[in-house]
C-alpha cells in the first residue's frame, strides 16, 4: 500500500499549505493586497518560536500561546505603520513595498541567525504514527496539523460570516467610503485583518518549524505554495483553498515518489495545468 501512504502524506501536508494560503487570501479578500513577504513572515514566526523555546524551554505547540499574539501585534503595527500607506488604485506600491519587506526580513534573519538550518523539536510526538487500515499509517503530528488547519479555516469562515468583525471586513472590502459612514475606522479594520493573517501565519510557522528544517531563505517557496493552493482552489473560497492545498500536497507527494527531484516540479506543473485549463480555479466563489 505504498501509494496509499503517499497520498495520505500528501493530503496531510495539504493542510499546512492551506494554512499558508488562508492568510494570503484573507488579506486579498479584505484589501486587495497580495503580501509578497507572506512566506518570509511564516519563516519569521518559526524563528520567533525558536526564540521563545530557547528563552522559556516550553514545547512548540504550547509556545503558540505566545507566538500567536506576538505575530498578530507585528501584523497590526505593520499594516498601520507601513502597508496602509500603499493601498490605493496603483498596483506598484503594495507589490514593491512588500517585495522590499521580503528582502528585509530574509536578510535581517540572515544577520541575526545565520544561514544555518534549524528545527524545532517537539519530542516523541514527531515520530508517532497510528494505523488506520492494513498497511496504512498516519503520522500523529501531521494529523494534528491537518486537523488544526481545518479548524483554522472553519474558524475564519465563521468569523467572516457570523461576527461583527467579519461584517466590518466584508463591508470595508465592498466600499471603504461608506464603511466609514458606519463608524468604521478603515485604517483599524485593515490592521485587524493583517493581525488576523499574521495570527494564522504564526500557527503555520510553528508547524513548519516542527515539521521540517528551516532557514531564512525558504520564505518565497512557502509563498508560492500558498499562492498555488489559492489559485488551484479558486479565489474567494476558503474551503476551496483547503482543496487546493490538498491537491498541491498530493501532487508533490506523487512526484516525489516517482523521483525525489520531481517533488516540487510536479506541484508546479499541476498548478500550471489548472491555470491553463481552468484559470478561475476548481471551486471559485461565484461573485469573486
Amino acid at each position: 500500500m505504498q501509494w496509499g501512504n503517499v497520498i495520505i502524506q500528501g493530503v496531510l501536508i495539504g493542510g499546512l499549505y492551506a494554512m499558508f494560503a488562508a492568510g494570503l487570501s484573507l488579506i486579498f479578500g479584505v484589501m486587495r493586497l497580495v503580501n509578497i513577504a507572506h512566506g518570509d513572515l511564516i519563516v519569521l514566526a518559526a524563528y520567533v518560536a525558536l526564540m521563545v523555546r530557547q528563552a522559556l524551554g516550553i514545547d512548540p505547540l504550547t509556545s503558540l500561546i505566545l507566538v500567536t499574539p506576538i505575530m498578530a501585534a507585528i501584523g497590526y503595527a505593520l499594516q498601520r505603520g507601513l502597508l496602509n500607506r500603499t493601498l490605493g488604485d496603483d498596483l506598484l506600491p503594495p507589490l514593491l513595498v512588500t517585495f522590499g519587506l521580503s528582502v528585509i526580513i530574509q536578510n535581517g534573519l540572515l544577520e541575526l541567525f545565520t544561514a544555518d538550518s534549524r528545527r524545532l523539536q517537539a519530542g516523541a510526538i514527531e515520530i508517532q504514527t497510528f494505523q488506520v487500515a492494513e498497511g496504512l499509517w498516519i503520522g500523529v503530528l501531521p494529523f494534528i496539523q491537518f486537523a488544526v488547519a481545518v479548524i483554522v479555516i472553519a474558524a475564519l469562515q465563521s468569523l467572516f460570516y457570523r461576527t461583527p468583525l467579519g461584517r466590518a471586513f466584508r463591508a470595508t472590502s465592498d466600499d471603504q467610503a461608506v464603511a466609514q459612514l458606519m463608524g468604521l475606522d478603515t485604517r483599524h479594520v485593515f490592521a485587524m485583518a493583517m493581525a488576523l493573517s499574521l495570527a494564522v501565519i504564526a500557527i503555520a510557522g510553528v508547524f513548519l518549524a516542527v515539521r521540517a528544517n528551516f532557514d531564512p531563505a525558504i520564505g518565497p517557496a512557502r509563498l508560492i505554495f500558498g499562492f498555488e493552493a489559492v489559485i488551484i482552489g479558486g479565489l474567494g473560497n476558503m474551503w476551496g483553498t483547503l482543496a487546493g492545498g490538498i491537491i498541491l500536497g498530493v501532487s508533490q507527494a506523487i512526484g516525489a515518489q516517482i523521483d525525489p527531484g520531481w517533488q516540487l516540479l510536479a506541484g508546479h506543473i499541476v498548478f500550471l495545468a489548472i491555470l491553463a485549463v481552468r484559470p478561475q480555479g476548481l471551486f471559485p466563489k461565484v461573485s469573486g
Binding site: 493586497l33 497580495v34 509578497i36 507601513l82 500607506r85 500603499t86 498596483l91 506598484l92 506600491p93 503594495p94 507589490l95 514593491l96 513595498v97 517585495f99 522590499g100 519587506l101 521580503s102 528582502v103 528585509i104 530574509q106 536578510n107 535581517g108 540572515l110 544577520e111 518565497p220 509563498l223 508560492i224 499562492f227 498555488e228 489559485i231 527531484g261 516540487l264 516540479l265 508546479h268 506543473i269 498548478f271 500550471l272 491555470l275 491553463a276 484559470p279
Partner: protein
C-alpha cells in the same frame, strides 16, 4: 499644418552628452584598467536588464518578479549550444534572443490569466519551473552546474585580453541596442499607446487601444532582450548553475531596486538607478546581507515618498529630459514661414 516635435532643449543636450559618452566608452579598452572594464560591463548589463524590466513594469504595467527565468534561459541556451553543438559563443548570444521570444509566447499565454500581484507571483513560479528543469538536465551539469569548455573560450579570441575587450564591446553594444530600441519604440505610434497605458490603463482601453495585445508584444520583446543579456552574462562568468542562473536576488531584486530608485516609467530611470546602485555597492561592499537589507529599506522609502524615483524628482523639478521622447505639437501658421 502641424508636426510633432520630440526634442526639447534639455533632450538635445542629453543626446549630445550621450553621444560623447558612447564614444568615450567605446574607447575604454584603451584607457581603462582591466577591473574597470569588468565593472563597466557589469554596469551596462544591469542598465539593460533594468531598462527592460522598466519597459515591462513601468510602461506596460506588468510587474514581473520572474525575469530571472529568461536570464537563466539565455545562459543555459548559450551553454547548450556551445557545449553540445560547438556553436561560437557570440553567435549563440544572438540566437538566444529569438529563442527567448519563442519561449515567452506560451509563458505569456499562461501567466496573462493572472492579474496584478498574482501575475507577479505567477512569473516567479515559471522561473522556479525553469530552475527545476535545469537541475534535471545532467548533460549541462544538473544541480551543480557546468563550466564553459576551454575550446569555446579560445574560439572567442586568442588572448585573454582580446576576449575581455570582446565581452566589453558586446555588453556596450547590446545595452546601446536595447536603449535605442526602446527609444524607437516609445517614439512610435505603439509607444504612444504604451505611454497611454502607463498613465491610465482604463482610459487607454476605452480609447480603443488593444491593451492585451500590446502587453503581450511587450512581454515577448522584453524576453527577447533579457534572454540575450542572460546569454552574455553567463558567457562572461564562464560558469553556470541553476542557482546562479535563476537567482531572484541577482536578476530580479537588484533590478527592481535599481529601477525603483532611479525612477519607474521613465527611460532615464534605470540609468540613474544603476549608477546609484553601483556607487552604494562600492561604498558598502563588505556588509553582506546588511547591504541587501539597506537596499530593501531604501526601495521602500523611495516607493512611498518619492514614487517617481530620483530621475522623477529631477525631471519634475527642472523639466529635464535626457532623451527626445516628448511630443510637442507644433502649429505652423499657413501664411508665414515655419517658426518653432
Amino acid at each position: 499644418m502641424s508636426r510633432v516635435q520630440h526634442a526639447t532643449r534639455s533632450s538635445q543636450i542629453g543626446v549630445a552628452l550621450i553621444a560623447v559618452a558612447l564614444v568615450v566608452l567605446a574607447l575604454a579598452p584603451f584607457w581603462a584598467e582591466r577591473s574597470t572594464l569588468r565593472l563597466l560591463a557589469e554596469i551596462f548589463t544591469f542598465v539593460a536588464l533594468a531598462s527592460l524590466w522598466n519597459l515591462l513594469a513601468g510602461y506596460a504595467g506588468l510587474v514581473s518578479v520572474g525575469q530571472q527565468a529568461f536570464v537563466g534561459l539565455g545562459g543555459y541556451f548559450l551553454f547548450a549550444l556551445v557545449v553540445l553543438l560547438d556553436v561560437h559563443p557570440v553567435a549563440a548570444i544572438f540566437l538566444a534572443g529569438p529563442v527567448g521570444a519563442l519561449v515567452a509566447i506560451p509563458v505569456a499565454a499562461l501567466v496573462f490569466r493572472l492579474r496584478g500581484a498574482y501575475f507577479a507571483i505567477g512569473t516567479w513560479v515559471v522561473a522556479e519551473v525553469f530552475r527545476l528543469l535545469a537541475s534535471q538536465v545532467s548533460v549541462l551539469g544538473g544541480g551543480s552546474g557546468i563550466s564553459l569548455p576551454a575550446g569555446a573560450v579560445i574560439a572567442m579570441a586568442a588572448s585573454r585580453q582580446m576576449r575581455e575587450f570582446e565581452i566589453y564591446w558586446l555588453a556596450l553594444a547590446l545595452t546601446a541596442l536595447v536603449l535605442a530600441a526602446m527609444v524607437v519604440l516609445l517614439r512610435s505610434r505603439h509607444g504612444l499607446a504604451l505611454t497611454a497605458i502607463r498613465d491610465n490603463e482604463l482610459a487607454a482601453q476605452s480609447n480603443g487601444i488593444d491593451v492585451w495585445r500590446i502587453k503581450f508584444v511587450v512581454y515577448v520583446l522584453t524576453a527577447f532582450g533579457t534572454t540575450m543579456i542572460g546569454a552574455l552574462i553567463f558567457l562572461t562568468k564562464l560558469r553556470i548553475s541553476p542557482e546562479t542562473a535563476f537567482s531572484v536576488n541577482d536578476w530580479t531584486a537588484f533590478v527592481i531596486f535599481i529601477t525603483v530608485i532611479g525612477g519607474i516609467g521613465r527611460i532615464e530611470g534605470p540609468i540613474i538607478g544603476t549608477i546609484v546602485f553601483f556607487v552604494l555597492r562600492q561604498a558598502l561592499a563588505d556588509l553582506g546581507s546588511f547591504y541587501m537589507l539597506m537596499m530593501g529599506a531604501v526601495a521602500i522609502v523611495v516607493m512611498l515618498w518619492a514614487p517617481k524615483g530620483l530621475w522623477g524628482l529631477i525631471a519634475e523639478r527642472f523639466g529635464w529630459q535626457a532623451l527626445p521622447l516628448q511630443r510637442h505639437l507644433l502649429l505652423v501658421p499657413k501664411d508665414s514661414g515655419a517658426r518653432s
